[in-house]
Symmetry: D2
């Protein structure tokens, strides 16, 4: 349920709505826009609640129910585009931001070379995997901590922020010591313990689309991050699984306008 | 690489193969059959190794490379069907085993009623979710620990083993205190930290097929469990995501004979 | 729009409804059940028509709108199961009918051998393709007319009815001279000129499911046959295209109960 | 089998290859490039033929087998890009060609208005359906011949070429009297009798991708047109069927570079 407050609402009036919601055991998220304040009232049974409970409170302008399963990622909660700022680089504005680099971090030499090429080619964020989720347990699983340390060194040396994947809830705080952006891979889009831990961490995070998840499921997964207070969420369309076998995945380019229409979150592919 | 030892091989001869593999930094798994012993030699670069390294060792009969990405789940490693035994119930034999029960554990009354109905109908394992991975963070996430305790009580009272899902690596030991079978849900089929922790735990485990994963990926995910030493793995086909929208998922019945042909693991749907 | 007539309705009363519909430029199909008569009133704009137009006519009991896109194939139009009779073999009853034979008719010897094996194994209808729709124009396209003649001879000799595919509207009358059942292949499920011509022909017809068509589209395609007056339609689930590549197609077994629930047409897989 | 002739080959030498192929019952297609002449030797059993049969003939430079199922649409047969010219507009060059217009032709007024808007917006080909293949037989099937006549009038009046769909082999010559480009719709991509008739017709043709066909199947369908001598084939990617339901189809943008790499045919989406 979305409670829009009147322009010029007082802090006390907003608090009144928040306290009413919390007294009912509901979860609350605030969007303090420059123009107006929006209170999202969240819970598994808000559908059964009468809107009157909040409509009568001082300072309330209007109440709408969000019919979509995602709430905090929706334009109803936040109409204006969100921007995510990483070392002064704004993601979600008109500027095209390219993140590039090797799939896996393999050596200092390899990473330094990649950083050089990537910078010269105009990309401004270096990517490289230290933890690699691999289909087979017998494949190389990444350099892990040593790979993170390499990323840290190269980042200092080349002055370029880095993005790297986190796959295990146990590793979130370790990875965020080195990464400017945490990456959640396609196979983990619906790994809720991981999403919850990354949501608590507050580092900017790229949420890759699950390779067989709908746009709706993707935005609803983003709600797990947003609910924990991490508002720096970037969506990444990386291709979906289809019957076509001449490419490894099919980039779902049509999802971009769908996301732009229904969500305020920045996205790229 | 699969090393088949001669009939009547000695322990020393098997050890010789194991030690040679370990000296090369490779992982080893043994299948001690009644007839013959098979040594699987595993690692990311076994493809580049010459088979001669092992062929010359005493007691070795033949060496084959497994061309499929899954190794321990394959018939090449273990030709005969595997059986999983849960409180005296054999899964994987000719007997049809039905596991039934509610999606989520909600109350003692509900669970007791379900246990009664399930037993009377001829099912022999009770299922019920205490931890529920939900698409939306605003949906009921399950009774968690209280739900596990309920499962524990009902199991004693009705004398029926229980299966319940584990979604977070942090919860594996807690859940296995109450569950006779751990269930890994469709969305977690490629959650490797979870697979690794469940593999170390040794409780029988049902690995549900990822709703958009191929049979090959599924068997390769089973290798994560098997590699950690958990050999009590049961596969569960639960339907795949397709374009058809009159059913929530499409049961891929054709996958059953494929699995039976290529894997020794018991499976059901 | 489905007009159910009262029990004991007169022919004049039914004619009254039919004439009213035809005067509005609508299409009419009758289901003369043993119990009651149902008139389907069909057209692209029946959704805008008031049901009162027919409700006031003598003999009318009730009027319902069919919300599904398929009408004549629906249980609303015909509640009881349809049976198709082929040389005394009833398809759609409790008896299991097996149709078997080679993909393509290649020679008299091959077909005679197949007919013998098929009969001995308990199948009661022989299949074999004389016209083969092939992905590549450079593949063997079937024996065509000579293949039909072979089917005709074997059918006489072995006393077994035959089913064979028709792919071109030009060939419908030729093929139906030899075939007891016409087969419409998966790639032609939405080939409307072909469906229309086969619908006019009145031979029993097997409509295979398009390999990427939904159940709803499939039943709506059946309406093309039924609308032309061919009521001997049998549905055949033959597998759908999915991401899984260990089998050529994925048999959508879940579609069977969906069809049984929503359609009166017999089906098999 | 692709026979590349030497530069400066004589007509007699080319004829020698053609006659040798025809004497073996094979089909032949010539690509007379400015630089060199290529002879494609086609048939269902060329895989079993020795290349020596042709290698020894005068004027032959080299022989390669095409391993892909499509032959005439492949770069092996024709390395340089094909261009299709429609009323002086070249399709397949660097110029971006936009075809626009209503789904179905409904009236002269509607079509005239569309033509005006389309021209002003910079599109240079008008599209509009006179024959509409519809999922349901109760939907409007198009104005048919009257719609074609309207297209003919508007085309004269506005001086803009038109593209329109053909769905029935019986209508190919009628439709091509009015259309500058024949369109084969997604559901007919594997309707081989239609492809064969359109291939004989020689009008430029847009072959839309079947909504669940692979790129390989699409190019192989193009071979049906090319084999009959129609070389003016344009490919149109129009979206594939996937699990995603927020858009009607998923545009497979990744298919464009795949086609450009493996085929000489112009394409658009």
């Amino acid at each position: 349920m979305i409670v829009e407050m009147r322009r010029g609402v007082t802090t006390d009036e907003v608090d009144g709505v928040v306290q009413r919601a919390e007294s009912l055991g509901l979860n609350v998220q605030l969007n303090l826009g420059t123009d107006k304040t929006v209170v999202a009232i969240l819970g598994s049974n808000t559908g059964q609640l009468s809107t009157d409970i909040f409509a009568v409170l001082p300072g309330v302008e209007s109440i709408t129910r969000i019919m979509k399963p995602y709430k905090l990622a929706s334009r109803e909660f936040k109409a204006e585009d969100s921007l995510v700022s990483v070392s002064g680089i704004e993601i979600g504005s008109d500027r095209i931001v390219v993140m590039a680099g090797p799939c896996a971090v393999e050596s200092e030499e390899q990473l330094a070379k990649a950083a050089k090429v990537v910078k010269e080619a105009g990309a401004c964020i270096l990517r490289g995997g230290a933890f690699k989720p691999r289909t087979s347990p017998f494949s190389f699983q990444g350099m892990k901590k040593a790979g993170l340390e390499l990323l840290g060194r190269i980042k200092e040396q080349f002055g370029i922020p880095v993005i790297t994947e986190v796959v295990d809830p146990h590793d979130v705080s370790l990875v965020s010591k080195y990464a400017d952006i945490l990456q959640i891979g396609s196979r983990n889009m619906q790994n809720y313990p991981l999403l919850t831990d990354v949501g608590r961490n507050k580092r900017p995070v790229v949420l890759k689309r699950g390779f067989s998840c709908t746009v709706t499921e993707w935005l609803t997964a983003a709600d797990y991050l947003l609910l924990e207070g991490n508002t720096q969420v970037i969506l990444c369309e990386r291709g979906i699984r289809t019957f076509e076998d001449s490419t490894r995945f099919s980039l779902d380019i049509s999802s971009i306008p769908v996301i732009k229409r229904f969500s305020h979150l920045p996205n790229f592919n």
